[in-house]
């Protein structure tokens, strides 16, 4: 029996080439025509799958070039990555929204995502002083203040505590904030992309607080990040002891630096801002701190000039993710309307869908798992007749709360409260299948 015939005797000269180049290479008889077309489609900015007939040479009866060649071996990509043709599925920012990118936000491409879990590389970002790159061996969590036994914990220490994994969404309360006044952005990514959902693994905050021992005067916790913003919020102790987690992992792997590596706080169902990333300090006190991030920001300005503070809860919300401006319809016929719903109060109980702008509604199917304070998938079968339509979804949660219309929200809060726009989203379908962000009265 000879030694492994591949070893040292054969090297794939195409290994380093992008797939399009490989397949269009000379000597690949099928490749030339079809991949000139594919290359043109890519550079022309047309989505794969959206331009019918572009790859007919690989469809039956022809055999496809990738079926007649040897693929790349294992560990060709030691840490995997999406297919090259998925290059457009990325986080994006709105350049005119902020002064720079360090104190800014990026939006998740939820128009291209398919389940309740957000891939780690696509989770939206919100930084206040850029993304710090932290050496975990030097990272510490200090817990002090009104405690019996103030502690300094290393990452090793934290990972020794009993671990727990839970699936929760995080939504920036400014998600939809640009739509208070009117429909502005013709894109699901930009109207709803400041949300993500992941399985978070770490230690219960209550376990850490038991370990330091709370003094009876302790009523609030200051939570602070190790970033340049030293990002700081106050949290009432009841919430800390209820379901907060101090996590080091997201969807099974270490947190990404953009998500707080090596340690962040998860405050299930509450606005993203309190889920402090790069968590380094927890201080127990008897009153809230009224930090800049809970007075001048993350407060909701009302029409009478007053402002609401400590509005932590994310109320029930939903959105149709297909169709949407980025994913138009392709002619009349049967479609599955798809979407996501969530609530900071608990589980989503029901989602209704309308195709006539809210005159008539029918309940959508909720897909398992329906988890508390997590994204929930819904679908609704719809035969489109090719006529103009107005699609909306409306979520209800187990507390009985009903997702409001933008008209109702404006009636209560005006147009300058920036945060917590959880209104029903309307997608206008035109006869050519294109989709637009509109608002109704």
């Amino acid at each position: 029996m000879p030694a492994d015939p591949w070893r040292n005797t054969w090297r794939n000269p195409w290994r380093k080439l992008p797939v399009v180049q490989k397949l269009a290479a000379p000597g690949n008889p099928l490749a030339r025509r079809s991949f000139l077309k594919l290359g043109a489609a890519l550079s022309g900015g047309i989505a794969i799958g959206a331009a019918p007939g572009h790859a007919e040479d690989a469809a039956p009866p022809a055999d496809s070039p990738w079926s007649q060649s040897l693929g790349a071996g294992v560990v060709d990509r030691p840490y995997g990555r999406p297919a090259d043709t998925e290059a457009g599925v990325i986080r994006r920012n709105v350049p005119w929204l902020t002064a720079g990118t360090q104190s800014s936000v990026s939006f998740s491409p939820i128009q291209d995502l398919h389940g309740i879990i957000t891939p780690n590389g696509l989770f939206f970002e919100r930084h206040h002083a850029g993304r710090p790159d932290i050496d975990p061996s030097q990272h510490r969590l200090m817990i002090h203040g009104l405690v019996e036994r103030p502690l300094v914990l290393s990452m090793k220490d934290i990972m020794r505590f009993p671990s727990t994994s839970r699936i929760h969404f995080i939504e920036c309360p400014a998600n939809g904030g640009m739509e208070w006044r009117a429909a502005q952005l013709n894109s699901l990514q930009f109207t709803h992309g400041m949300i993500g959902c992941a399985e978070w693994t770490g230690v219960r905050l209550s376990t850490l607080l038991e370990e330091v021992g709370l003094k009876k005067e302790a009523k609030w916790a200051l939570v602070e990040g190790a970033d340049g913003a030293h990002m700081t919020r106050s949290l009432p102790l009841d919430k800390c002891l209820d379901d907060c987690l101090v996590v080091y992992a997201q969807n099974g792997e270490a947190l990404r630096p953009e998500q707080g590596y090596p340690l962040r706080l998860i405050v299930p169902g509450w606005e993203g801002n309190v889920n402090i990333k790069w968590l380094r300090r927890i201080k127990l006190g008897d009153k809230p701190w009224f930090s800049r991030e809970e007075t001048s920001k993350y407060t909701d300005l009302m029409p009478d000039g007053s402002a609401r503070g400590f509005t932590w809860l994310i109320d029930a919300k939903s959105v149709i993710t297909f169709p949407c401006p980025e994913k138009p319809l392709d002619g009349p016929g049967l479609y599955e309307i798809r979407g996501l719903a969530w609530s900071g109060s608990g589980k989503v109980k029901r989602v209704d869908v309308t195709v006539d702008g809210g005159m008539n509604w029918q309940s959508a199917i909720l897909h398992d798992p329906v988890l508390t304070k997590a994204l929930t998938k819904f679908t609704f079968e719809w035969r489109w007749d090719g006529k103009p339509a107005l699609l909306e979804s409306r979520a209800m949660d187990e507390s009985g709360y009903v997702q409001p219309t933008i008209t109702e929200l404006r009636k209560q809060r005006g147009t300058n409260s920036v945060y917590h726009n959880n209104s029903i989203q309307t997608w206008q379908i035109k006869p050519d299948g294109s989709v637009f962000d509109v608002q109704l009265a």
């Binding site: 502690l151 300094v152 914990l153 429909a183 894109s187 021992g213 800049r292």
Partner: protein, 224 residues
């Protein structure tokens, strides 16, 4: 015999001490991981200042005059010489009486409820390229200057741990710290829900040219 008894007593005493050192589940120190924070470690990171009463403000002081010099050097490039804000960087002064306007201007002077919060924020987060590097006296001086830009303190004001909590911010009493939600009244109507006049589109993102298309090749948004 006597020595055996003695050693038994000693042994049980030792066991008692050992068991006393292991905290029960749910008690402080049960896991025993990490190390107890020293006063010096705590002092190094214990930077927070409470907004409403200034608890945690450190020793030190700074005048409006000194603040003007530091502001010109450290802050004006983004916030403007008089706090007017360059580009989309935050405006720090002005906007008084605009909170009920169609386009309100929330600034330190028109919106912020507590003066010590200003010290806390500058100290922890500014200047943006080098946060938490300014000496305490400089932070006090900048706080004094920004309050003065907003006509909240006089030109001779000196900010310190005693004076800052005394400053009453104009908008202090206009915050509601208890969340009044749910504040919407929608019901889950299922049929014939819209008004007789029918559904009307009041705004559309179509043609507004606000949607970025700058990155990524695969958008299929219509029209081009």
């Amino acid at each position: 015999m006597f020595s055996l008894l003695k050693s038994r007593i000693a042994l049980s005493a030792t066991l008692f001490i050992l068991s006393a050192q292991v905290a029960a589940a749910g008690e402080p120190g049960h896991f025993g991981y990490g190390k107890v924070a020293t006063p010096a470690e705590i002092a190094g990171w214990d930077i927070d200042v409470r907004g409403n009463d200034g608890a945690g403000l450190p020793a030190g002081k700074g005048s409006v005059q000194r603040g003007a010099d530091i502001f010109a050097e450290q802050c004006a490039a983004c916030h403007g010489t008089f706090g007017e804000g360059e580009g989309r960087f935050p405006k720090l002064a002005g906007g008084n009486g605009t909170l009920q306007d169609d386009r309100p201007e929330p600034t330190v002077g028109s919106f912020w409820p507590f003066a010590p919060t200003l010290f806390d924020y500058i100290n922890r987060a500014m200047p943006m390229p080098a946060p938490h590097t300014l000496p305490v006296d400089d932070v006090y001086a900048l706080t004094a200057y920004i309050l003065n830009l907003n006509d909240i303190v006089a030109n001779d004001f000196v900010a310190d741990r005693d004076s800052l909590p005394q400053v009453k911010m104009p908008n202090r009493d206009h915050f509601i710290w208890t969340d009044p939600r749910p504040d919407t009244q929608d019901r889950p109507c299922m049929s014939a829900c819209a008004p007789e006049a029918g559904v009307k589109i009041t705004s559309t993102a179509e043609g507004r040219n606000l949607t970025p298309r700058t990155t990524g090749p695969l958008d299929t948004m219509q029209p081009e």
